[in-house]
Amino acid sequence: MNQPAPNVSKGATVARVTWRQRFDRWREHHRDVAVDSLRRLRATPLPTLMTLLVIAIALALPAGLFVLIKNVQTLSEGWDGNAQVSLYLTAKTSDAQGRALATQLAERVDVKRTAYISRERALEEFKEQSGLGDILQELGENPLPAVIVVYPAHDTLEQAQKLRDDLARKTEVDEAQLDAQWVQRLYALLALGERLVLALSIGLGLAVLLVIVNTIRLGIENRRDEIVIVKLVGATDAYVRRPFLYTGLWYGLGGSLIALLLIQALLLWLDGPVQAVADLYRSTFALAGLGLGTGLLTIVGSVLVGLLGAALAVRQHLRAIEPG
């Protein structure tokens, strides 16, 4: 039945490509696809910009909050080490008793040193610092108690707290006050803030991921015909996937860059008022930015989320688009 075909020649020669050429083309193809996917994004500026802004805002929120918390932390840095306990002595305690107690307390292992401030010195200091000397003169009697300032031997607030509780039980002591209490409260709040930033980062990172998955999904749907055709002429899955992965990468990169700009703008906007407040407190405090490390981390993280989003979208939808 099968007759020999007429004119059988040596057969068509199959095109051969060396590995070196293949690698060069692969590299060129990556460059072309990267440029082409960027061009496609630019071709639809408004939808692209909206997607980028959604990503940028979602990134700027936790990153901006992080910057603010870091700034408050620098503001309060170095204060926890300087915690001190002020012991206000009872009126019945004599000057000699007070000095004796101060010396005695200085012997304790959990105390670095003590300083005794007599009622007279306290009054003088108060006069100097407050400028209310004339009014105090009118009072006739010194209303200020003697104070023993106790410097704890250990740095941590917990140990200072324990020391305060211990010293408060002494009969000579009317009231014991840990001067670092507000720092402690601030630290608790900052720890809470950090947790909040983490939760916000995870939540909004997930939102960014979903935005990118959905955007890439639409892109795949729009290029359905093209995908079918390139698959018919022998495109591998990697080839089909590549433009979409680059699109995800661009979204991540663009979104994070805009987010960094937003944070920078916020800092510039806050800088004036912050300087004014710092000047009032005679502080040299200056607002710090996100920093190179955190900035890079934001960019890299965002690019990875972009790639992951694209990979998820592609995985989910590309296999469904087959010729036939």
Binding site: N2, P6, N7, S9, G11, K231, V233, G234, A235, Y239
Partner: protein
């Protein structure tokens, strides 16, 4: 070049699209594949392109048994086969040149080689002067020829055409058939699926006829067609 042994295809819904097919196509052979719609022509082409997998049997294409090759090997299989589609399947967001260059781009040819091959293919189909046009601006016959140029640009050993003359007048059909003949002359196996009886009668190529998924005719006989 193409060899089928006891090939059957049963779809998931139970329909028997192809039943126990046996035939062999030699290098440089030009063959018609015919049958009514639903006879199994499209299914057979899909099996050869690995758009579908056979349910049973062995399929050798270019010396390789493709019935069970892994999914990841399918693209490389398709690069060995040029396919001309009834609906052209051209991309209208790029030029004629870029359409024809697509298989070479995917296979990783250098730009220099690509240019040479694309122009040779376009020259072959007589569209060298239209390389920078958008295929949407071309006539149906010209679009078909762009599709043929794309199918042969990689110098495949097998060329498959699905209703290549479907929407064309006899004169244009003759031109297309002439092109196919030239490819067969240089050793390409050409398989043309068509239900155009007039076309089949005008040429004396080997004929495979399907009916309800069975091969009912294989030879040069045109009687009672």
């Amino acid at each position: 070049m193409i060899s089928l042994q006891k090939v059957s295809k049963r779809y998931d819904n139970g329909r028997e699209a192809l039943v126990n097919l046996n035939f062999e196509l030699a290098p440089g052979e030009m063959v018609f594949l015919t049958g009514h719609s639903g006879a199994g022509k499209s299914t057979l082409l899909k099996l050869i392109m690995l758009i579908e997998r056979p349910s049973a049997g062995q399929m050798l294409v270019c010396g390789q048994n493709i019935a069970h090759i892994p999914r990841s090997a399918i693209p490389y299989h398709r690069r060995q086969i040029g396919m001309v589609h009834q609906h052209h399947h051209l991309l209208f967001d790029r030029t004629v040149y870029d359409n024809v260059a697509l298989p070479l781009l995917i296979a990783g040819f250098s730009p220099r080689d690509t240019g040479r091959r694309v122009r040779a293919a376009l020259d072959k189909v007589g569209l060298l002067d239209k390389e920078n046009l958008n295929p949407a601006t071309l006539s149906g016959g010209e679009q078909q020829r762009v599709g043929i140029a794309r199918a042969v640009v990689n110098k495949p050993q097998v060329l498959i055409a699905d209703e290549p003359t479907g929407n064309l007048d006899p004169e244009l059909s003759a031109e297309i058939m002439d092109l196919f003949d030239q490819f067969a002359q240089v050793g390409t196996t050409v398989l043309i699926a068509t239900h155009d009886v007039g076309l089949i009668h005008r040429y004396d190529h080997r004929l495979l006829a399907l009916h309800n998924g069975e091969l009912i005719r294989d030879g040069y006989d045109r009687e009672h067609l």
